[in-house]
């Protein structure tokens, strides 16, 4: 590990000011000299592995703005401060009651220890776990632009079937993000160019030709909050995560589902898919295919087919298409059958 400077800015504007002093607007946040750190469960890991090499860490944990650590429920929805820990949000009563899909997505992620450390903003910005990305002796376009992609023809059981490009097929592994994208969440950020908010769906970028560009953020921008609109029928929602073992594993396939039902007929469906795509993945075609339909096994299967119509398998991950579909079918039927 290389030596680095560690700082604890006192408030958001100080953090932004320091960040903008040591970065430029062209810097990718994950490649910049100065980077923010929250729980450190992702960044410190990648620094040890030589994947991330900031020479200045700006620790956000001492920022004095208390909203960063609060979960607030208003008429408009629910607002999560960026530094709220995963574990706290997962257990919060308003979350478990009003947005079960969010609570599930957090509860089924990582381990108890990590959930107690990791922040919500850090969680949504977590970087891929692609084995070839994590180990610096491999070719990887995301880590070293233009160097090639060792996963493409390598061991790619974990990799994405949706949203992949010829440059990169790395999966976005986070769970929470699937609930957020399904519920039309909004991200608040503050940087040297001011404060802004953007739809959560705009935060992550598909790899395309530039897999090293992972998000829409610039290097001095801090995520301050995540807002989820009030959706009364989101009480009928869940997150189903399928994995190789019962706990402490990333999804092979997952589905975040929320349903507005009129009897058994779908008024509105929200669907996002995890473990199968390069970015948090809203399955709009599947949502549309269900609208106005009676939700049964057949319509659920049709929706699943629609969700994976564009899927492109590689050598070891073809099963994710079938698994992803079945995961969605099961999630839809289980959501339908929820007692709310």
């Amino acid at each position: 590990m290389r030596p680095f400077v560690y700082e604890q800015p006192a408030d958001i504007s100080a953090a932004v000011a320091t960040a903008s002093r040591f970065t430029t607007n062209d810097d990718q946040p994950t490649r910049a000299n100065a980077q923010f750190i929250a729980g450190g469960t992702n960044l410190a890991d990648y620094m040890k592995l030589g994947v991330a090499e900031p020479n200045r860490l700006l620790d956000l944990n001492r920022l004095k703005e208390s909203g960063l650590r609060q979960i607030r429920v208003t008429d408009d929805g629910i607002r999560f401060g960026a530094l709220v820990r995963m574990g706290e949000a997962a257990d919060h009563r308003d979350v478990t009651e009003r947005y079960p899909v969010i609570a599930d997505s957090l509860r089924l992620a990582a381990s108890g220890q990590i959930r107690n450390m990791a922040s919500l903003a850090g969680n949504i910005l977590q970087r891929t776990r692609c084995e070839y990305f994590r180990e610096t002796s491999w070719q990887c376009n995301k880590r070293v632009p233009g160097s090639g992609c060792a996963a493409m023809e390598g061991v790619n059981r974990q990799h994405a079937v949706l949203g992949a490009s010829d440059a990169c097929i790395a999966t976005y592994h986070g769970d929470f993000a699937q609930a957020l994208i399904a519920l039309d969440a909004v991200v608040h950020a503050e940087g040297s160019r001011g404060a802004r908010k953007m739809p959560f769906a705009k935060l992550h970028r598909q790899p395309g030709d530039t897999p090293h560009i992972e998000t829409d953020l610039v290097a001095d921008e801090i995520i301050t909050a995540i807002e989820v609109p009030a959706i009364p029928w989101a009480r009928r929602s869940l997150y189903l995560k399928i994995r190789d073992r019962e706990s402490y594993a990333f999804a092979l396939a997952s589905a975040a589902v929320a349903l507005d039902l009129d009897g058994e007929t779908v008024r509105e469906a929200r669907i996002a898919l995890g473990g199968v795509a390069t970015v948090p993945w809203r399955a709009s075609a599947a949502e549309q295919s269900l609208q106005g339909k009676k939700l049964d096994e057949a319509s659920a299967e049709a929706a699943a087919d629609a969700a994976f119509a564009q899927a492109r398998p590689r050598q070891h991950n073809a099963f994710k298409i079938e698994l992803g579909k079945r995961t969605l079918v099961r999630a839809l039927l289980e959501t339908r059958d929820m007692k709310v």
């Binding site: 590990m1 776990r129 002796s137 023809e153 390598g154 059981r157 399928i242 190789d244 706990s247 079938e322």
Partner: protein, 759 residues
């Protein structure tokens, strides 16, 4: 009594808590890399990123510029020491710094030594190798493999066992199967990382390293360094998981010793989790073809087991599980053949039940298929083929309680309630399956020395160069002394894990409890003899009662007549402060050189299939229930029961722990564990615990271990069969059997994963 401490049945010792439990759970146990060492410098390895070729050039300038860097040990710096040897004490014959040839992925190219761990790591990372790269051969089916017969390549695997005329019997069999099975690459991944700390006091070398074989390492390291073994000391008081990985010494040890010498300072090198995949041993992938023929009555008439195992180019590591599978049942005729497949890989090595895990998996999966082909209950099928003598040499089993194990496990599991029809058992959206399999492990024992001292105050000091790899040897050795000397366990201190102690064999092959306890028993009995002689001598406290049988209990000698004498008083009468005995135990059938070999670190193993009078094995039966979701097909194991018989059980708590750990590992082998090899580059891909999956707590629900009483005096004086490697044998086959029962899909390639059940 709680489940962790089962009530002892016949021929079982008390479930004493581990004597080192408190140290371990309070963080006071010093593992080798924790041992306080003054003025230490840190080492970090630089390893190759190719699997085959040559290091044309090593650029060290960037590494040298790292502040705090002290030294770099690399090519040329090991010329005055000898290359490692492959064998029981040596993991590989590859001397990575003796030669610029790269034999495998992750081969050591240099050791950077610095003032801090961080600086050493950074320097190691900045060592830039330029290669002359060649196309490597990764594994089975890769171009460039060489296949050779295994028989005779290892002293432990002399021949391919056979009996009768397999071809004729198979041709005539009414019911037969011919199937292929495979097991993946696996790495031990003990939680304690691999490490070496070395320092010199004058010409004396001290090494702190987690080791299952301190005596063997002392001798092998001295050979490499061209010094007298008396000048080398290996210290390894606690080991945080070994499973065979810390049995043979790897080339790192000598490199760190050389670094410490050059620097004149202690050097500690802890390898990273990732580096361990290439610098340590592992279980290589295996393939199997099994043919079984039987009559309609279910009696097997023909059994053939062919195995293929990957090994490195330079070293012929043999697994060779056919010597156990070939003797498992009453087959009629047996044909076996094992081949080694050489590839550009690091040398594999021992990993918990090395031969039995893959080979018995294949056999038991095939037995289950055969039971299906016969339309027979799988337990009944095994009962019908229970042998009177083993089929190869027709020798009797010293004891064999397999059927008792099946009966007790079946009863506890509720096997009788199973609906044998495939897919018949359901619970809502979950398909339920139930399966079973046999566990077997050879019972061996090796020479061992121990020193026991009993003081006038009734304190006992027990010294033996064995190893605490988590099995609880400190506790059971102390328990043996406690039983024989009538002293409570609190009064006994046990010193192990140091090559300056009386030598013990490698802690492998499940021989430790039997070997160590036999030596401790001998030493204690010698003390008893002296005590009795003194007590009954003229003027002694029990003078005149020398024809009596004595007991030692509560610090007293008790005569049958009711007379008694305090042990302390006997010692006082002898005018000594302590009695100390040094015992050298050699098993029955040991060669005249057996003890010499013990001191040389190359102990003979006896037992298993090798003895003249009988074959010696421990057995068990495991039953599992699986649940598989109807849509998404994830596989869970809510319930597992294992019943095991292993001669005298020294301590039911530590025995249960071992067996439980084995069964959990077995579930991992069935469903989780596999090292992925990138076939293009012959490199390991999932080199950390994020992607190398093992079961977590949530995967293990209802687990029951049944200890089946068994008495066997033929195995060794302690009457103990090893059980450290018994629990994980067969488990994966039981899971495969249950998956078949639930789904009708026979999975023959481990691990069993979702994708195999989706199609």
């Amino acid at each position: 009594m709680d489940a962790a401490a089962p009530r002892p049945k016949e021929n079982m010792g008390e479930p004493l808590p581990r004597v080192d439990a408190r140290l371990k759970v309070t963080g006071q146990a010093h593992y080798p890399a924790d041992l306080p060492t003054a003025n230490i410098a840190y080492g970090a390895l630089a390893t190759s990123s190719i699997a085959k070729g040559k290091v044309a050039k090593l650029r060290l300038d960037e590494a040298r510029a790292v502040p705090g860097l002290l030294d770099i040990v690399t090519y040329g710096d090991m010329d005055k020491v000898d290359k490692p040897k492959f064998g029981n004490s040596g993991a590989t014959s590859i001397g990575p710094l003796h030669d610029r040839t790269i034999f495998h992925d992750g081969q050591i190219v240099a050791l950077a030594v610095a003032e801090t761990f961080e600086a050493a790591e950074e320097a190691a990372r900045l060592i830039r190798a330029e290669y002359e790269e060649e196309k490597p051969t990764a594994t089975f089916d890769s171009p460039g493999t060489a296949t050779i017969p295994a028989a005779g390549k290892s002293p432990l695997f002399k021949e391919d066992v056979k009996a009768g005329d397999f071809d004729a019997a198979y041709a005539d069999a009414a019911v037969k199967i011919d199937q292929r099975y495979s097991t993946p690459t696996q790495h031990h991944n003990p939680i304690e990382l691999f490490s070496t700390t070395a320092y010199w006091e004058g010409d004396q070398l001290i090494v702190h390293e987690p080791s299952q074989n301190v005596t063997g390492w002392k001798v092998e390291l001295a050979r490499q360094l061209r010094i007298d073994p008396a000048k080398v000391r290996i210290v390894s008081p606690f080991i945080g998981g070994a499973f065979g990985s810390k049995g043979p010494m790897t080339p790192r040890t000598a490199i760190v010793a050389v670094a410490a010498k050059r620097l004149g300072r202690p050097v500690r090198c802890v390898t990273s989790r990732m580096q361990a995949f290439g610098t340590q041993t592992y279980r290589a992938e295996t393939r199997h073809r099994i043919r079984i023929g039987a009559g309609k009555d279910g009696r097997i008439t023909a059994f053939a087991h062919e195995g293929w195992e990957v090994t490195s180019r330079p070293d012929a590591y043999v697994v060779g599980g056919t010597s156990a599978t070939g003797r498992m049942y009453d087959y009629g005729s047996v044909l076996t053949h094992v081949s080694l497949v050489q590839a550009d890989r690091n040398t594999p090595g021992y990993m918990r039940s090395p031969p039995e895990t893959p080979y018995v998996y294949a056999l038991e999966n095939a037995m289950d298929e055969m039971a299906v082909a016969l339309g027979m209950d799988p337990v009944e099928f095994r009962r019908i083929n229970e042998p009177k003598a083993e089929p190869i040499g027709k020798k009797p089993f010293s004891s064999r309680s397999l059927i008792q194990c099946y009966d007790q496990a079946a009863e506890a599991f509720g096997w009788a309630d199973r609906d044998p029809k495939v897919g018949a058992m359901r619970d809502g959206d979950w398909l339920v399956g139930i399966g079973c399999a046999t566990a077997i492990y050879p019972t061996a024992v090796a020479p061992c020395a121990a020193r026991v001292r009993l003081t006038v105050d009734g304190d006992v000091r027990l010294q033996c160069g064995s190893h605490e790899i988590g099995t609880g040897v400190r506790t059971v050795a102390g328990q043996m002394a406690s039983e024989r000397l009538g002293v409570s366990i609190e009064k006994i201190s046990v010193e192990i894990g140091d090559s300056s102690l009386p030598p013990a064999p490698v802690s492998g092959g499940s021989i430790s409890t039997a070997s160590v306890c036999s030596a401790v028993l001998m030493a204690c009995d010698a003390i008893r003899t002296k005590l009795y002689a003194a007590a009954t001598a003229e003027g002694g406290p029990l003078a005149g009662s020398h024809n009596e049988e004595f007991e030692l209990a509560g610090g007293k000698i008790l005569a049958k007549s009711g007379a008694s004498a305090k042990v302390g008083d006997v010692l006082k009468a002898m005018q000594v402060g302590a009695i100390e005995e040094y015992a050298e135990f050699a098993p029955k059938g040991a060669t005249p050189e057996a003890l010499k070999k013990l001191y040389a670190g190359t102990p003979e193993f006896h037992g298993g299939e090798q003895d003249e009078d009988s074959v010696k094995y421990a057995f068990g039966a495991e039953f599992v229930e699986v649940r598989i979701n109807r849509y998404t097909r994830e596989i869970r194991v809510p319930r597992i029961v294992g019943a095991f018989a292993a001669g005298r059980i020294m301590n039911t708590r530590t025995a249960r722990s071992q067996l439980m750990g084995g069964m959990i590992w077995g579930i991992g082998q069935a469903l989780h564990e596999a090292t992925e090899v990138d076939r293009r580059y012959a490199r390991y891909v999932n080199r950390d615990l994020q992607d190398y999956l093992v079961p977590v707590n949530a995967d293990i629900k209802d687990l029951q271990v049944i200890l089946v009483p068994e008495v066997d005096h033929a195995v060794n004086p302690a009457g103990v069969k090893g059980l450290g490697e018994l629990g994980n044998v067969g488990t994966a086959a039981a899971v495969a059997s249950a998956v078949y029962h639930a789904t009708g899909r026979r999975i023959r390639d481990l691990p069993i994963r979702i994708e195999q059940l989706l199609v």
